[in-house]
């Protein structure tokens, strides 16, 4: 089942959830989906026997200034031996998306990292707090417009 067919099945189940099928670039093709229904799509992709994407391989954030921040889900189906990449584009000023932690527990820490680095708020996450940076750090470093702070808790980066 190739990407177009998967997109067709998804659209049949959840109308208009796949916004576009991107294949024009080098590397892996991906589906751009509507972030509002991500939880239902995730459950469907994991549980439907024709899809059965049991593995969430990777969850990352990508910053596309000035309009959006993307959250990328790399899925893998062991039963069918195929991959799927989903991209959800969020509004850069208020990036919110529902958490898929209840579907794949692996998303727990990866979503925390995405929140830490990009500021994406995952609704429904049981414990959304910074994971790699200290709890009182300000700013989200992996954004393209991140300004390095001059000092943190009294320690400056000036000689």
């Amino acid at each position: 089942m190739d990407l177009e067919a998967i997109a067709g099945k998804l659209n049949a189940r959840f109308p208009e959830v796949v916004k576009s099928v991107e294949t024009a670039h080098a590397g892996d093709p991906f589906l751009v989906i509507d972030p509002g229904r991500i939880l239902d799509v995730a459950k469907f992709l994991r549980d439907d026997p024709e899809m059965s994407f049991e593995w969430l391989m990777c969850l990352s954030g990508v910053d596309y200034p000035p309009e959006s921040i993307a959250v990328v889900y790399n899925l893998y189906s062991q039963t069918h031996g195929r991959r799927l990449t989903l991209k959800a584009l969020l509004d850069r000023n208020d990036p919110r998306i529902f958490s898929v932690e209840s579907v794949w527990r692996m998303a727990d820490w990866h979503e925390r990292e995405c929140y830490d680095m990009f500021g994406v708020v995952f609704d429904g996450h049981p414990d959304l707090r910074r994971i790699l940076l200290p709890f009182d750090w300000e700013g989200h470093p992996l954004r393209k417009d991140y300004v390095y702070p001059e000092s943190y808790r009294g320690v400056t980066n000036k000689p």
Partner: protein, 381 residues
Amino acid sequence: MPIDTNQKSTDLRTEEMIINMGPQHPSTHGVLRLEVTTDGEVVMDVRPFIGYLHRCFEKHSEKVGYTGVIPYTDRMDYLAAMNNNHGYVMTVEKLLGLEIPERAEYIRVIIAELGRISSHLVAFGTYANDLGAVTPLVWGFRDREYILDIFEMCCGARLTCNYYRIGGLSGDLTPEMLTKIREFLDYFEPKLKDYDRLLSYNKIFIERTAGVGVIPLEMAVNYGITGPPLRASGMKWDLRKDEPYSIYDRFEFNIPTGKGLKGEVGDCWDRYMVRMWEMAESVKIIRQCLAQIPEGEYISPKTPKMIKPPKGEVYVRVENPRGELGYYLVSDGKPNLYRLKVRSPCFTNLAIVPAISRGVMLADLVAIVGSLDIVLGEIDR
């Protein structure tokens, strides 16, 4: 809105004690802090805190160019440095569509498998040390010295080797290095039996690890556990055989899985034994490589001088000694990459510790964390 991680959301009960294991602690394999709530010796809850070794690798990678990222990848999982390199250069080569010469592929596999043995020796030694047996640590490091000497011969550095390049390697292996590798394999194979006699079937060691920290298979898949912990839980899944990359499909080797010989399937003893059996399999692979290695170039002549992959994105995964290491690379056609996300196996594996440590004793917590074989450099990047 940042949340104060020192706040405890439940009420403080006076019978329980909250202890910090780490960040400076002999058993936490790096700077990991485990906030353990105990009732006497029994663990009620564990909250891992990481980030003490965060070096902003992903932000740096956006500034130094594609080749400049390679030394940074060494320093993530510093115990298996070459395997990290391998994953990254494969990712860029996939995006560029670059073919690598045969000899370079063979050398890459030899060095990666030597890195696997070296990393498993550290895992074996430090795990035994956590449980009180100090001798296996020194023996493991003694044998690892030979591997580090081989690494030093081929690229100049013992630990963070920076040997792989986009398109091949940075240098060739001379025939005397190949002889040295052969000698090491002949020396090392009997040592594995020594380790088994000393530690693996020791009654006390089995008492400490069998039946402890069992990870059921569905939980492992849901949490995204990969590598030896997944194989110990019974699933015969190894990227080298099931999604063969590089030239792994030319070699014959087995995938050891945990069978619950001494306790339940997926306990600490299984995870430990899977690593020991994997070392024997790596020796087999290296021997086959040494028998088949052709002459040729060590770097592809078609490698561009300035690496500028076309616009696109790709996700490539390799089998690190600790699990599935994934690189998600987004390129926008410029000399610097746009986004590189590393899916670190230890980062994912560590998340399962709170779920499997409720109700175990404090000493078991040490055994569980040790059996997952974490390296903080990779978790924190």
